[in-house]
């Protein structure tokens, strides 16, 4: 083989391998068409934060009722999470008050009710409320350290609108990014809050990487739900 043929071969190989790496994104963005249940979970998350901020029982009761109506269950699909980054050492502390755990919400709502009979009766009613339809969204409650990024590996079904909703404890700004298996960027929510939601349409069933980046200097307790 001559030098010329070798050079042509190498160049063609380089260009084709680059093409192969640059695969099509595995999903289309579904901007601004957020499924109702994602919006409702966001609302529940906002109520949780508001309830803890103001030490009020009613927002926690309302949040619980929404979560129950959605039948949010703890994720059992084997999703995994990795942490990366450098912790910001500020020496700052924060109150560890906010919780997205349902039994904790009931207990805190009872505490904040401060003996108010009407509120206590409503809490009891809420405990008794039956859950919504089966096959509701799946949730994981976690925390991301200041300056760190949590990366969740989650499988979404092709042909079904997918959503990811992240709601934090309100102390820092969280940004949410979605990438496909090949590292193609799909969508993000990078506003100045820790209340993020994105929606996209996977073209086929496959793994997606959900990155939650904490832009603050203290940890953030968050709840991530997906369908």
């Amino acid at each position: 083989m001559s030098i010329k043929q070798l050079l042509i071969g190498a160049a063609l190989l380089l260009s084709t391998s680059v093409f192969a790496q640059q695969t099509q994104p595995a999903a289309d963005v579904n901007e601004k068409n957020i499924p109702t249940e994602a919006q409702q979970y966001q609302l529940a998350g906002q109520l949780v934060r508001y309830g803890y901020q103001t030490k009020s029982s009613l927002p926690l009761i309302q949040a619980l009722q929404i979560i129950k109506s959605l039948n949010v269950t703890d994720a059992t699909d084997g999703r995994s999470k990795e942490q990366s980054g450098t912790e910001v050492a500020t020496g700052l502390t924060k109150s560890d008050l906010v919780s997205f755990d349902e039994s904790q919400l009931i207990s805190d709502a009872t505490k904040f009710a401060d003996g108010n009979k009407t509120l206590l009766a409503l809490i009891k009613d809420t405990e008794k409320t039956t859950r919504g339809r089966s096959g509701g969204p799946m949730r994981a409650n976690d925390r991301v350290l200041g300056g760190y990024t949590d990366t969740w590996k989650i499988t979404f079904r092709g042909g079904e609108t997918a959503y990811v909703c992240v709601i934090g404890d309100g102390d820092t700004d969280l940004d949410l990014y979605v990438y496909d298996e090949n590292g193609n960027f799909i969508t993000s929510d990078t506003d100045g809050t820790d209340n993020c939601v994105v929606s996209f349409n996977p073209k086929w069933t496959g793994v997606f990487y959900i990155k939650i980046k904490n832009l603050g200097s203290v940890y953030n307790k968050y709840s991530i739900i997906t369908n």
Binding site: I8, A11, S15, V18, Q22, L43, L58, L122
Partner: protein
């Protein structure tokens, strides 16, 4: 140029342009949403949720938030009844309570509550806005006041597909002008929630809200005026 040189050049060119096309993220400053705006937005969503699901509790909670923030309804010259007024919300809550004693007690207690937030009562305007329409709302601010204007559209999540499969939604844009029609602040981000904040000079000001989307919307405009501490 010989054929092999041409092929080589094309191959290298293709590989470099392919690398250059790998998506990179445009970085823009995050939109900071004032806490008041977040709370009002949450209360607005509770109203929608309560009416959609015919539940009393979200409406009661919304009224309590509006009361806590000291929202004052501005009378509307268009004669449109304000579906966010305390009276209307509690009337709907009573209907949805369906005789539940606990909820009825809570409605009674909420109805008796007085407004809070005496320091910076927001004024609330409720307006309907058609696609392409611009609505105007005038207000007066003293010099040195910190003014926040928040627009909370009710069309969030309400999107439909047209016959070509395109998504149609409402998309509100907010601009505040001074008396000389100079732009003081604007928020042209996508979506139905807008917020701007600025220090005012003594002036009559005008809020302009434009529906740049394809669907009609109802929007609530809140104006906060906070005197600066000396």
């Amino acid at each position: 140029m010989k054929i092999w040189q041409l092929l080589l050049s094309i191959s290298i060119l293709l590989s470099t342009t392919s690398v250059a096309q790998v998506p990179s993220h445009a970085v823009s400053a995050p939109k900071q949403i004032p806490q008041e705006a977040q709370l009002l937005d949450m209360a607005g969503k509770l109203v929608s949720y309560g009416r959609q699901t015919k539940s009393a509790l979200p409406l009661i909670q919304a009224v309590q938030i509006f009361q806590k923030m000291g929202v004052v309804d501005e009378s509307d010259s268009t004669g449109l009844s304000n579906p966010y007024s305390t009276d209307m919300l509690l009337a709907d809550a009573t209907k949805f309570a369906d005789g539940n004693k606990n909820l009825l007690t809570l409605i009674k207690e909420t109805g008796k509550s007085t407004r809070g937030g005496a320091i910076k009562d927001p004024t609330r305007f409720f307006r309907a806005i058609e696609p392409g329409e611009v609505i105007y709302q005038h207000f007066y601010a003293e010099g040195g006041q910190y003014v926040q204007v928040i627009v909370d559209g009710q069309g969030e999540g309400l999107s439909i597909h047209d016959s070509n499969g395109n998504i149609c939604m409402s998309d509100l844009k907010l601009t505040v002008f001074d008396k000389n029609s100079r732009v003081i602040a604007s928020d042209n981000s996508m979506g139905v929630n807008c917020a701007v904040a600025f220090m005012s000079n003594t002036s009559n000001m005008t809020i302009a809200v434009r529906n740049a989307g394809q669907l009609p919307d109802n929007c609530i405009i809140y104006v906060y005026k906070t005197p600066m501490k000396h």
